[in-house]
């Protein structure tokens, strides 16, 4: 039995009792003679039943998120202990002669870089709507996914006719960020408006860009906005704020 869009739609109409009476009789006859089809219908029925229970699905999603957070926290703890080890080692060296001034400078910039590295994750590639510029979009997303940020920037900044949606601004901003062009990255993130569904993502990457630029004040202001927004980045923003205020 081949799974086709037509078959799926027929099963869905049958299960929602929207299939005309005549077709129901014929379809039930077909089911009774084809065990594979019968099994397929049961799978669809089960899928519908299980996934319609949105409370349980949300609870499962929450557990998944909690588990990811716990894993991230424990890996951060080990990163912090590792970084602490090197700071202690460095301070011993300094005590033996390099000088306090140099240490303070290294220590401050090191903290920002550590935090940036601990929190920065490239904005993930999402599916896009197929359209006339699909081939070009495919090339951009493939290059982005493969880490070829030069190519992403080259296509998007050279092609003025390309519809630079907010999602693509996030890709472009992240590409600039990975090429060490922080100001250009900021320009992209700042063009994503507060009413956009990507505004929280844009604020998060803007906050990280300022962190990379060692501008804790601007980074903190954005992180506070993210906390107030109460979305998916809230907990990360709270953690990062706490570390910046330490």
């Amino acid at each position: 039995m081949e799974r086709t869009q037509e078959l799926f739609e027929k099963i869905e109409l049958y299960l929602s009792k929207e299939l005309p009476a005549q077709e129901v009789i014929a379809f039930e006859k077909e089911i009774s003679m084809d065990s594979e089809l019968e099994l397929e219908v049961e799978k669809h029925r089960e899928l519908q039943r299980v996934l319609s229970d949105t409370d349980t699905l949300l609870f499962k999603e929450k557990l998944h998120k909690i588990s990811t957070e716990i894993k991230r926290e424990s890996s951060e703890e080990s990163t912090i202990s590792y970084s602490l080890f090197w700071k202690i080692a460095a301070s011993i060296v300094i005590v033996f002669g390099v000088g306090t001034l140099l240490w303070n400078t290294l220590n401050t910039s090191g903290d920002f870089s550590d935090l940036y590295a601990a929190y920065y994750e490239i904005y993930p590639v999402e599916d896009v709507i197929r359209g006339s510029t699909q081939v070009e979009k495919d090339v951009i997303m493939k290059s982005y996914a493969e880490g070829d940020y030069q190519k992403v920037v080259a296509i998007l900044s050279d092609n003025t006719s390309f519809p630079l949606t907010e999602q693509f601004r996030l890709y472009l901003g992240n590409s600039y960020l990975n090429l060490g062009k922080e100001q250009e990255a900021l320009e992209q993130f700042q063009q994503i408006g507060d009413d956009s569904k990507y505004s929280e993502n844009a604020n998060w990457y803007q906050a990280l860009t300022y962190l990379k630029l060692k501008d804790a004040e601007k980074s903190s202001a954005l992180l506070k906005d993210i906390v107030d927004f109460d979305g998916v980045y809230k907990e990360k923003a709270q953690e990062l704020l706490a570390k910046l205020e330490d």
Partner: protein, 195 residues
């Protein structure tokens, strides 16, 4: 753990209180992870078991059918579900080598609960593989299972009607194919109740 602590954690689970659930998760997961790793499983198996056992408790709380004996704490009850669930899954994976001694006296659960765990097994798999789909697939299927028709979904997502129908088909097909690749799915009986 006092009766008061138990009441709080149960309230937290039912309310979906992320802070309370996270604290409970952190305190108890390592024990289950140790158990699963010692008994032919890996960390992913341990996470699946732990989360699915919490879902069993959540669903029982929601239905008002959670019946924990007064001499058993929530933690022990959770461990009992996890261990019984893992034994059952191992049996399906044809690797039944769980040491019988691993079940404490108060972790031997009633037959009715063990049957219920078995009955719910496929549901856990549906949810697991649904959550592993791409964000756009999850969005479309959530809207479908929420009872929206194609026109409503097209207007919410901004996709065309034809693209929405095609995408829905592809997402459902991908989900079913992922499920069918899981050896445990094949071992489990269909649990759906016909209308």
């Amino acid at each position: 753990m006092s009766i008061n602590d138990d009441r709080k954690i149960l309230e937290g689970i039912l309310a979906g209180d992320a802070k309370a659930i996270k604290a409970f998760y952190k305190k108890n997961f390592s024990y289950i992870k140790g158990f699963v790793l010692k008994n032919s499983g890996d960390e992913e198996d341990a996470e699946d078991i732990f989360q699915d056992a919490l879902i069993v408790i959540y669903e029982k709380l929601k239905a008002g059918t959670l019946d924990i004996h007064s001499n058993v704490t929530v933690r022990t009850y959770l461990y009992a579900i996890c261990k019984n669930m893992w034994r059952s899954r191992l049996r399906k994976k044809k690797k039944m080598i769980v040491d019988n001694e691993v079940l404490e006296e108060n972790e031997r659960i009633e037959k009715s609960i063990s049957e219920e765990i078995e009955y719910k097994e496929r549901e856990h798999l549906y949810r697991k593989y649904f959550l592993a789909l791409s964000d756009s697939c999850k969005e479309i299927l959530n809207l479908v299972f929420d009872g929206n028709n194609m026109k409503e979904i097209a207007s919410i997502t901004g996709y065309s009607d034809g693209y929405t129908r095609k995408k829905k088909f592809e997402c459902k097909k991908a989900l079913l194919e992922k499920l069918e690749k899981d050896p445990m799915f094949q071992e489990l009986k269909i649990t759906s109740v016909k209308d």
